[in-house]
Point group: C2
Chain length 96, copies 2
């Protein structure tokens, strides 16, 4: 299934900047960065549970926000990109 | 239908900052801001075509990126929020 992950991290402090880096790093391990704070992760339920657990341990729930969008198996019909940085195919191939 | 709109705008220049403000302003007219560069818009196909047309006229397609995610009618099952700024209900009520 494709899970879209978007986040806002409050980065005024050094601790916030560290959380931001760590959240991005974890997301990179499970998916493709499609915009600055937007990742598309093609994961099975076990992988998603692992990722989610990591992210929610890193984030500060008082300050940061993470949203998950479950795009399911037919995600290709649900995603459209316009402009710079043509989207990545979460299955691993660049869409040219 | 719910359309999720995410964007990255290159803001190094004053023109880029203006594009960013204008894109956010148009999105606000059609939906709810749920994160800094993430809007959820509950729109019919005509409204979505209008919005899309406006955004794509504002953006610089060489520099900026916009992604549309079509979450359909059963979007409530597809969205989950964790942390600060509890999500808005795109139908207009705060989810408390």
């Amino acid at each position: 299934m494709l899970v879209l992950i978007t986040y806002d991290v409050r980065t005024q402090s050094a601790a916030g900047q560290k959380r931001l880096r760590n959240i991005a790093k974890q997301c990179k391990n499970y998916g493709q960065r499609v915009q600055n704070s937007v990742f598309e992760c093609l994961v099975d339920p076990v992988q998603f549970a692992e990722l989610r657990n990591k992210l929610e341990n890193i984030m500060d729930k008082e300050k940061d926000s993470i949203r998950y969008y479950y795009l399911g198996k037919n995600w290709k019909n649900r995603v459209e990109h316009v402009g710079a940085k043509e989207g990545y195919d979460p299955e691993g191939f660049l869409m040219l």
